[in-house]
């Protein structure tokens, strides 16, 4: 029996109860409903470049294999043998037309179909082979290469789910000359001791940088002066043209771009090989074309957060992977721009390494400090009321999207409201 949840008490308009972070009883339900009942990001189609490509991913804690069959179709298979539940694929990615369970030799096609069972006479007529394929995520849809899955028949189509967040995802993707991303450049993975929602509390938080990232800003000031890196956060960001948005379904945005001046490349912190590459490009293509190309090196100047697990940050795709109620992995996939010059894509690797090394380290420490503070049971609340007193600054757009100053906590309230709404629903999740 599931515990009774008083959601009016747990998630209020201005504060959230510590227990939904600290109580391990919520975690299995979150992994089931949030990371199964919503559209969950699985992978990018460029990670499966050819027929029979596959990649292992998690949907919550469910082990999946996303495959591309020989006709080019995508499948999100449960990595779980129909017989005794062993995983049938151990490699992180690769090419395979079949998956063989190493336990008893059951063999599956990369479309999920069970094709062979050793010594079948032992089953007589009772095997039921056609029912014993690898189960599949019944709804898999993609938007401009981003593949999502859901087990919830009642979810609207993916594009409706993405809603207005789509326009900002477009901005990120359209930086590629051929309007496509290539996600085949590995990943940086970080793990912190704490609940996954601490990442979400932070994901569109324009309030924390000047303090949480003071080490980075101070180093940048010492080394490069005031106009590089994230220093547009060091005086009150609410006095800048930056803003946040809170979209339907819990998605959020911290748009830094309006506060970042004309050139994004000009704001990139000095990068290994940066001057050599820039000068080589100028020599090869002339100043104008070279600097236009270099604009493709950094990200789009935004933090775009697609609930529950896809965060666009810098020039990377960050995937939130909860491992346990108190352990979370953040995977930062590097991206290339299709059609961009090799030099530009190369510099994207070096720029991509900057924030995980010099910024995220402090965020993860902040999350762990929150986690330690949350262990005090008598002090029940996490506050998220910043901005509630000044509704005049909130511009409720026709679509229902809320636009607020960059330090407003509306994006946090917004995702927690979406969280609450799915957690308090009775869902009928299905597999195919």
């Amino acid at each position: 029996m599931k515990p009774t949840r008083d959601w009016d008490h747990l998630v209020q308009h201005d504060r959230v109860h510590r227990s939904i972070y600290t109580d391990p009883a919520y975690f299995p339900e979150e992994m089931e409903k949030i990371f199964g009942g919503l559209w969950t990001f699985l992978c990018h189609d460029s990670e499966l470049p050819e027929a029979n490509s596959f990649k292992r991913v998690r949907m919550g804690l469910r082990p999946l294999i996303v495959t591309r069959d020989k006709a080019g179709g995508f499948h999100a298979l449960f990595n779980r043998c129909a017989h005794r539940a062993a995983t049938v694929c151990q490699e992180a990615s690769g090419k395979a037309s079949r998956f063989v369970c190493a336990y008893h030799g059951w063999t599956y096609r990369n479309t999920g179909e069970l094709v062979a069972v050793p010594f079948p006479q032992g089953y007589g007529e009772c095997l039921g082979k056609s029912e014993l394929g690898l189960k599949k995520v019944p709804r898999v849809e993609s938007y401009r290469g981003f593949i999502f899955g859901t087990l919830n028949p009642d979810m609207p189509p993916l594009e409706d789910y993405l809603g207005e967040a789509k326009e900002y995802l477009d901005i990120f993707i359209d930086r590629a000359p051929e309007k496509e991303l290539i996600v085949r450049s590995g990943a940086y993975r970080g793990t912190y001791h704490g609940n996954w929602k601490l990442t979400w509390d932070n994901a569109a938080d324009g309030y924390h940088p000047a303090f949480g990232h003071q080490s980075l800003f101070e180093m940048t000031r010492i080394r490069n002066g005031r106009d590089k890196g994230g220093t547009h956060f060091s005086s009150n960001p609410d006095d800048s043209p930056m803003y946040c948005k809170a979209f339907a379904f819990g998605h959020g945005l911290l748009h830094q771009r309006p506060g970042m001046g004309d050139s994004l490349w000009a704001r990139v912190r000095p990068t290994p090989g940066g001057e050599y590459t820039a000068e080589a490009l100028v020599e090869k293509y002339g100043e104008k074309a070279a600097f236009e190309a270099l604009e493709g090196v950094p990200g789009a100047g935004m933090n775009l957060n697609i609930f529950p697990n896809l965060l666009i940050i810098g020039n990377q795709i960050q995937v939130v992977e909860p491992l346990a109620h108190d352990m979370t992995q953040l995977t930062w996939y590097a991206t290339m721009l299709k059609g961009a010059k090799d030099e530009v894509n190369q510099l994207r690797m070096r720029v991509g390494e900057d924030f995980p090394n010099f910024g995220e380290v402090d965020d993860m420490e902040s999350f762990e400090r929150c986690w330690e503070g949350l262990q005090a049971p008598e002090i029940e609340w996490i506050m998220m009321h910043r901005g509630l007193h000044q509704p005049m600054e909130d511009v409720r757009e026709a679509s229902g999207t809320l636009k607020v100053p960059p330090t407003d906590e509306a994006p946090m309230r917004n995702y927690l409201s979406a969280y609450r709404s799915i957690m308090e629903s009775e869902l009928d999740l299905v597999v195919a």
Binding site: S215, E218, M219, I222, P270, F358, D362
Partner: protein, 194 residues
Amino acid sequence: MLSLRKKRPEPSRYLTEAYYDALMAWQTAAQSYGPSEDAAVRTECEALLLYEARLLDTRQFEAWLNLLTEDCVYWVPADIDADPRTVVTVSFDDRRRLEDRIIRLETGFAHNQLPDRRMRRMITNVEAWEAEDGHTRRVMANEHVFEHRTGKPRIEYVAGLDYWLEKVGPRWLIKVKQVKLLNSLDGLDTPTLL
């Protein structure tokens, strides 16, 4: 106070295509080395590695940086064999970014260094070879790094180390330090300097 703080960052011009090509050739060649045979070379290299380890463990980061050449790279791959031109790494620092890293660590605001983050590392399995020209050496070793703050869980890293040393004047300096973490593809805590 770090004297580095007063240094003007140099433009980064040495990470050329040729440099990356040489790095990949060096990396590929790693598998072709037989047992190291020159005990004197090995002893000298081991002394350098142990000294380097002590400088890092005692947070003498500027002195550590002085063991590296002007055109150095500190390279912690995520995907061990991948070309860093097309695949992101855990860390890939040229000298300028190493200076940035050290200055950030010592700003007093690097929260995960507080309070009093301590490190100790064990260096073992040292093998060393000198090239025929007498100007470059390769050193491979293993390390086991512990980091700790009072009241926090101890963090451990195990890695293979691969060094490209160059003779600069009378000294052997580190041109490339590659750290092949055992768990480079899993989620890492945030290592200080490996």
